[in-house]
């Protein structure tokens, strides 16, 4: 009986909170907020807050065309795998002190799991056979490489900072980092972590493929790039993945740098974390989107490997010397 109940509880985690339903609603809502904010910053009225939901359901109702040149199975399965993997990543990210599944993944694993949705998109694009998708996936991969170096440096800096504070030397576990912040306050208050937080914040638009780093899906030059041949439900899943990735990356940011802000009640914390995600999105995604023009792909790469990596490196060196 208890086994059954525990199973039910975990199933609830996977399907409802912080799994599918939570991801679905909060991810799309966050994207809606982002679109609205960008519109308001550009003095437009903007789409309704629920626009991403409409887009999603509309796409679900459309015909799905599989081109004759595509590899059918990969083309159709790739979006599903990417989204499922992303939801699983969301399960590992602690919400304030609460994490549904502890002892299963650390920050390095999360770093790699975050690659899977991008990889799934790349493989799907590749399977479609379209040359536009080919160009798109090439750019997407370069963006992934670009973001990887600063992200690695940030994560190592955090691992070192928390580890030396705890006295274990190193700390890779996300739930440990979250617990540390619950007890000692947010990491962002430490001087060594400020550049790292800034670097991570600058990575968010790149990692989520949002403006000005959306070269991979540039609709004006390469016909939506990777998704050029996608239509209907698979496209809906891709759009959903895109939205949830925004949620995942911002909530990872919140978990790593703004942790410890919470009440200890999971449901309330969920709301608080979501509010923090909205703030982070507003500052680093919407604002950046509204004020910049799309970069060229080699500029994206250069920017991440110089400016952002430099920031992260400063943080790593500061953490190394115990600040």
């Amino acid at each position: 009986m208890t086994v059954f109940l525990t199973g039910l509880q975990y199933l609830g985690y996977i399907l409802i909170f912080p799994g599918f339903l939570f991801c679905f609603f909060c991810g799309l809502l966050l994207t809606g907020i982002d679109r609205k904010l960008v519109a308001r910053m550009q003095k437009r009225v903007g789409p309704p807050l629920l626009q991403p939901f409409y887009d999603f359901f509309k796409l679900c109702g459309k015909e799905t065309i599989v081109p004759a040149a595509a590899s059918r199975t990969t083309f159709l399965v790739a979006p599903l795998v990417g989204f499922a993997a992303l939801v699983v990543v969301q399960l590992f990210i602690p919400i304030c002190g609460f994490s549904a599944f502890t002892g299963m993944a650390d920050i390095i694993v999360i770093l790699y799991l975050l690659l899977i949705p991008a990889l799934a998109a790349i493989l799907g694009a590749s399977a479609s056979g379209s040359p536009y998708a080919g160009v798109g996936l090439s750019r997407e991969m370069v963006t992934v490489i670009a973001c990887e170096l600063p992200l690695v440096l940030v994560l190592l800096a955090v691992a070192k900072a928390v580890g030396s504070a705890l006295g274990t030397g190193l700390c890779f576990s996300v739930s440990e980092i979250a617990r540390y912040q619950v007890e000692n306050g947010s990491l962002i208050t430490r001087p060594s972590m400020i550049p790292a937080a800034l670097a991570f914040a600058l990575i968010i638009p790149g990692e989520t493929g949002s403006h000005p780093f959306d070269t991979a899906e540039a609709e004006t030059e390469i016909c939506e790039g990777m998704h050029a041949e996608y239509s209907g439900a698979p496209l809906a899943i891709f759009k959903l993945t895109h939205a949830v990735k925004l949620l995942t990356v911002t909530s990872l940011f919140v978990a790593l740098f703004l942790g410890g802000i919470g009440t200890g009640i999971a449901a309330v914390d969920g709301v608080i974390v979501f509010a923090l995600c909205v703030i982070v999105t507003a500052l680093f995604v919407s604002f950046v989107h509204a004020v910049t023009a799309r970069l060229k792909i080699e500029q994206v790469f250069k920017y991440y490997w110089t400016v952002v990596s430099g920031l992260a490196l400063v943080s790593l060196v500061l953490a190394w010397y115990g600040l």
Binding site: A39, G46, F57, K58, T220, E224
Partner: protein, 146 residues
């Protein structure tokens, strides 16, 4: 319930794919003007899509020159159902001042079923928005019949 949801959503999230079939660019500029802060069709959920695969509404401008006819038709055929075809400006409807030219194939309705015609040379943004909203209603109907 889901069917209803999808139907409602179809009307609220129409994505446009714009084909220029030899237009003088007057209509094209007006279409872009519709996206600017003053008119902002995004408030109605409209969005420009980059690929016909993602589009719901195809907006055709220009007098459908012989060079572009094949291209227009193949691009339209690649739009998934339910779809809605909108001609914009007088050219694709009648040929306008180009009518009778050996290299112009207008009207477009000879080759493919056109759902909405937006008249004008070039149409005013208000007219365009009105036409597009009509198109969304047709889209919703088509979705309901699927």
């Amino acid at each position: 319930m889901f069917k209803k949801l999808i139907e409602e959503s179809t009307a609220k999230s129409p994505w446009l794919f714009h084909i220029n079939s030899g237009s003088c660019n007057g209509c094209d500029i007006e279409l872009v003007a519709v996206l600017t802060p003053r008119y902002d069709v995004e408030r109605l959920g409209f969005k420009l899509a980059g690929s016909p695969r993602q589009a719901d509404i195809v907006v055709v401008t220009g007098p459908v020159t012989r060079q572009s006819l094949d291209r227009v038709l193949s691009a339209i055929s690649q739009v998934p159902e339910p779809r809605c075809i909108v001609t914009m400006g007088s050219c694709p409807q009648s040929g306008n001042v180009f009518k009778g030219s050996y290299s112009v194939c207008a009207p477009l309705s000879k080759y493919v079923h056109v759902d909405v015609d937006i008249a004008g040379c070039a149409p005013k943004p208000e007219a365009i928005i009105d036409g597009l909203v009509k198109a969304t209603e047709i889209l919703k109907e088509k979705r309901g019949q699927m």
